[in-house]
C-alpha cells in the first residue's frame, strides 16, 4: 500500500494468530478468541444434524453445503472490512445484482471474452460502486447507514431499469464459466476455493499489515486515530472500495452458481450479510472482529437452512433462528465485555 507507517494500535483485539511466548498463553488467547463461540456452534450444528440424519455429511451434501456458503462467505468478508471501521454498507445486495446481471450481459455482448477478464470487470465495477459509497460517507461526513440506504435504493433502481423483465440464464454463459461451480479440486468446488483464498488474503492483510491495523484503530476511536496521523478518509474510502470489489467478485460467482440472474437478484441480501458478520463476532460499533469470524458466521447461517431441511424441522423456523442467533451473539459479546472490564477493575461498563 501507499504509506507504511510503523506503529501499533493500542486497543486492537487479541488475535488468535498473534505470536505469544508460551504455548499455554497461546491456548488461553485461542480460548478467548471471538470466533470460538460461533465455530463451536457451527461444529455442534453439523454434528447434531449428522446424528439425526447421516446423509447430511454425504459427499454430495457436503459439496452443496460448501456451494451454498461460498457467496455469503465472500460477502461477509467484504462487509467485515467496512464494519471494522465503524461503518456499514447496506447497498451490497444491489451491487451483487448489478454485477451478476452485468456478467450475463457481458457474455452476451462479447461471447469470446476470457473468463478472467469477466472477473476483473466485475470486481472493478463493484469497487467503483463501493468507492462511490465511501466517497459520499467520507466527504459528506454522514453515517454510512444513511448513505448506503440511499444508494441501496438508487443502485437497485438502476439495475431494475437496466434489466427490466430480462433475465440471463446460465445456459447462455460459456460452459467453462458454469463449470466453476460444478468442478472440484480435492472435492472442494472451485468457487469455494476462490472464497477461501479471498478470506485468507484479507484476514492476513487486516491482521498484519499496518494499513489493515489502521482500520481497527479508526473503528475503535476515529478521533484518536486521526490525531495519531492515520489518514482516516483515505482508509475508509479504501475499505468501502475493497468491500465493493469483493461484492463484485461475489456477483460474478453468483452468475456462475445460479441458473438465472435478473432485476431481483440479490435483493434483501444486505441484512443477511450484516447478520452473518455480527454472528461471527464483528461488532457493529466498529474496531472489533475478524474477517475469519465473519466467514464462519456466514457458513453457520447458510448451514442452518440445509440442516433444518435435513432434520425435517419446519422450514418456517429458519428466519426466527437467524434472529435469535444475532441476538445471542451480541448479548454474549456484551456480557463478556462487562465481565472483562470488571476483571480489570475498571469501574464497570462506561
Amino acid at each position: 500500500m501507499s504509506t507504511v507507517t510503523t506503529h501499533q494500535t493500542p486497543d486492537a483485539p487479541v488475535h488468535p494468530d498473534h505470536p505469544h511466548s508460551s504455548p499455554t498463553r497461546r491456548l488461553a488467547s485461542l480460548l478467548r478468541a471471538r470466533e470460538l463461540p460461533v465455530a463451536v456452534a457451527l461444529a455442534l450444528l453439523v454434528l447434531g444434524t449428522w446424528l439425526i440424519n447421516d446423509k447430511f455429511l454425504s459427499a454430495q451434501s457436503v459439496k452443496d453445503l460448501m456451494l451454498n456458503a461460498t457467496i455469503m462467505v465472500i460477502l461477509a468478508a467484504g462487509q467485515a472490512i467496512v464494519l471494522i471501521t465503524r461503518n456499514v454498507d447496506l447497498s451490497v445486495g444491489a451491487i451483487v445484482g448489478i454485477v451478476a446481471f452485468g456478467t450475463g450481459a457481458l457474455f452476451e455482448a462479447a461471447p469470446g471474452i476470457p473468463i478472467a477478464a469477466v472477473f476483473v470487470v466485475g470486481m472493478v465495477a463493484g469497487a467503483a460502486l463501493g468507492a462511490l459509497n465511501g466517497l459520499l460517507v467520507t466527504v459528506a461526513r454522514v453515517p454510512a447507514l444513511v448513505i448506503t440506504l440511499g444508494t441501496l435504493y438508487a443502485y437497485r433502481g438502476v439495475l431494475s431499469s437496466w434489466a427490466g423483465s430480462k433475465q440471463y440464464f446460465s445456459g447462455n454463459n460459456p460452459r467453462a464459466f458454469g463449470q466453476l461451480s460444478v468442478d472440484t479440486v480435492l472435492r472442494v468446488p472451485i468457487i469455494t476455493v476462490i472464497a477461501a483464498l479471498v478470506v485468507v488474503v484479507v484476514a492476513v492483510y487486516l491482521a498484519y499489515r499496518p494499513a489493515g491495523r489502521d482500520l481497527y484503530a479508526i473503528g475503535s476511536d476515529p478521533e484518536a486515530a486521526a490525531l495519531f496521523g492515520i489518514r482516516l478518509q483515505a482508509r475508509v474510502l479504501a475499505a468501502f472500495a475493497a468491500c465493493g470489489a469483493l461484492t463484485g467478485l461475489a456477483g460474478v460467482l453468483y452468475a456462475s452458481r445460479y441458473n438465472s440472474v435478473g432485476a431481483l437478484t440479490g435483493s434483501g441480501l444486505e441484512l443477511d450479510i450484516v447478520a452473518a458478520a455480527v454472528v461471527g463476532g464483528v461488532a457493529i460499533s466498529g474496531g472489533v472482529g475478524t474477517v475469519a469470524g465473519a466467514a464462519i458466521g456466514a457458513v453457520l447461517l447458510s448451514t442452518i437452512t440445509s440442516s433444518l431441511t435435513a432434520t425435517r424441522v419446519d422450514k418456517f423456523w429458519q428466519q426466527a433462528i437467524v434472529g435469535i442467533l444475532i441476538l445471542a451473539a451480541i448479548v454474549i459479546d456484551r456480557v463478556t465485555a462487562i465481565r472483562r472490564s470488571n476483571k480489570l477493575r475498571v469501574s464497570g461498563p462506561r
Partner: protein, 351 residues
C-alpha cells in the same frame, strides 16, 4: 461514522436573524416549499392529478409510513434507531390472521390483542437495549429477522382473508366527497399527539437532550433508560396498529405484509430533517418528508414513469437530503475562512 454536526445559522446567538429569516432558513420550511412545488407542477403537468381520487389514494398509501415515522422520529432524536418496525407489523398481521381464523374471538378483541403483541415486541427491543446496554442498530437488526421469522412460524405460508367486510371497507372509506380517507382523522390525531409530546412537553425536551449528549442528560437527572424503553414500546404498539391497518386494507393477513417498509420509514424521517446523530428534528418536517415521498411516487406513477425509476428518485432524495446540509456547512466554513484571511492583514495594523 465521523460525527460532525452541520452548524445552523439559528444556533448562533450572536447572529441577528429576523423571524422570517429564521423560519425561511429552517430545513422543514424548505422541504415544505419543495412539497408545494412538486404538488403544483404535478397538478399542471399530469392529467388527472388534481382530483379528489388522487387525494384519497395518495393519503391511503402514506398512512402506514406516516404512522411508523412518528415514534421513529422520537427514537432517532434520542440517538437510537428501530429497524424492526416492519417485521413487527408483519408479525402482528400474522397473529391477527390466525386469531381471527382459529380463536373465535370478536374482531375488536383480536385487534386489541394485536396492538398488545406489537407493544410486547417493542418491549423486547427496549429491554435488550436499555437493560443490557446494547446498540439499538444491532438489536433491531436481530429482531427484524426474529419477528419476521416468528410471523412465518405463526401463519406459515398461508393467507387469511375472510375479515368482516364492514371493517375492511372502513379502512379505505372516504369522508363524503372530499376523497379524504376516514382513517386520516385517527392518523392526524396520532401525529398531533406526537407533535405535542415532542415539542411542547418537558419529556419531549429531554429527548433532544438525550440525543445531544446521553451523559449530560443522565447528570441532570433525566431517566434516559426508562424514556428509551417506553419509546420502543410505543414504537412497537404503533407498528402493531399499522399491521392491523395493513391487514384490513388489503383484506389479507400473511407472513410477508409490510416487508421492507422499515427502509421507507427511515428514508422519510431522515428526509424530513431529523439528524441521524440525534438531538435534532421536528414532527412537521417528518410529516412533510413522508408526504413528499408519497406525492412524488404517486405523481410519477400516474405519469407512467416505471416503478424502477421511483426507487432511484427515493434513493437520490435521501442522499441529497443528508449531503446538502453538510455541503452548505462546508461552503460556509470556506467562506468564513477566506473572510478571515482577507481581514487578517488589517488586524496587526489596528492593534
Amino acid at each position: 461514522m465521523t460525527e460532525t454536526r452541520p452548524a445552523r445559522a439559528a444556533d448562533r446567538p450572536d447572529a441577528p436573524v429576523s423571524f422570517i429569516r429564521r423560519v425561511a432558513g429552517r430545513s422543514d420550511t424548505m422541504l415544505f416549499l419543495v412539497l408545494l412545488a412538486v404538488i403544483a407542477s404535478a397538478s399542471t403537468i399530469i392529467v388527472n392529478f388534481a382530483t379528489t381520487v388522487t387525494l384519497g389514494f395518495l393519503l391511503v398509501q402514506v398512512v402506514p409510513v406516516l404512522l411508523m415515522a412518528m415514534p421513529m422520529t422520537l427514537i432517532i432524536v434520542t440517538g437510537e434507531i428501530d429497524l424492526s418496525v416492519a417485521s413487527t407489523a408483519g408479525l402482528t398481521s400474522a397473529v391477527m390472521g390466525v386469531l381471527w381464523r382459529d380463536s373465535g374471538l370478536g374482531i375488536w378483541f383480536v385487534i386489541v390483542l394485536c396492538v398488545l403483541v406489537g407493544a410486547v415486541c417493542g418491549a423486547v427491543n427496549g429491554l435488550l437495549i436499555t437493560a443490557l446496554g446494547l446498540s439499538s442498530l444491532a438489536v433491531t437488526i436481530g429482531t427484524l429477522a426474529l419477528f419476521r421469522g416468528l410471523a412465518l412460524v405463526v401463519i406459515g405460508d398461508q393467507k387469511v382473508s375472510n375479515f368482516p367486510s364492514e371493517l375492511t371497507s372502513l379502512a379505505t372509506r372516504r369522508i363524503g366527497d372530499t376523497g379524504i380517507p376516514l382513517v386520516m382523522v385517527g392518523v392526524l390525531l396520532v401525529v398531533g399527539v406526537f407533535a405535542v409530546v415532542l415539542h411542547s412537553t418537558s419529556f419531549g425536551r429531554t429527548l433532544f437532550a438525550m440525543g445531544y449528549s446521553p451523559e449530560a442528560a443522565r447528570f441532570v437527572g433525566i431517566r434516559v433508560d426508562a424514556a428509551k424503553f417506553w419509546l420502543f414500546v410505543v414504537s412497537g404498539a404503533v407498528s402493531g396498529m399499522v399491521g392491523v391497518y395493513w391487514t384490513l386494507r388489503f383484506a389479507s393477513a400473511g407472513p410477508d405484509n409490510a416487508t421492507g417498509l422499515e427502509l421507507s420509514v427511515i428514508a422519510a424521517v431522515l428526509l424530513g430533517g431529523v439528524s441521524i446523530f440525534g438531538g435534532r428534528g421536528t414532527i412537521a418536517g417528518v410529516a412533510t418528508g413522508v408526504l413528499l415521498i408519497g406525492t412524488l411516487t404517486y405523481a410519477l406513477r400516474l405519469a407512467r414513469v416505471p416503478e424502477t425509476t421511483l426507487s432511484i428518485v427515493t434513493g437520490l432524495l435521501l442522499v441529497l437530503s443528508v449531503v446538502t446540509p453538510s455541503a452548505i456547512a462546508w461552503v460556509r466554513e470556506k467562506r468564513r475562512l477566506s473572510r478571515l484571511h482577507r481581514n487578517s492583514p488589517a488586524v496587526p495594523a489596528a492593534g
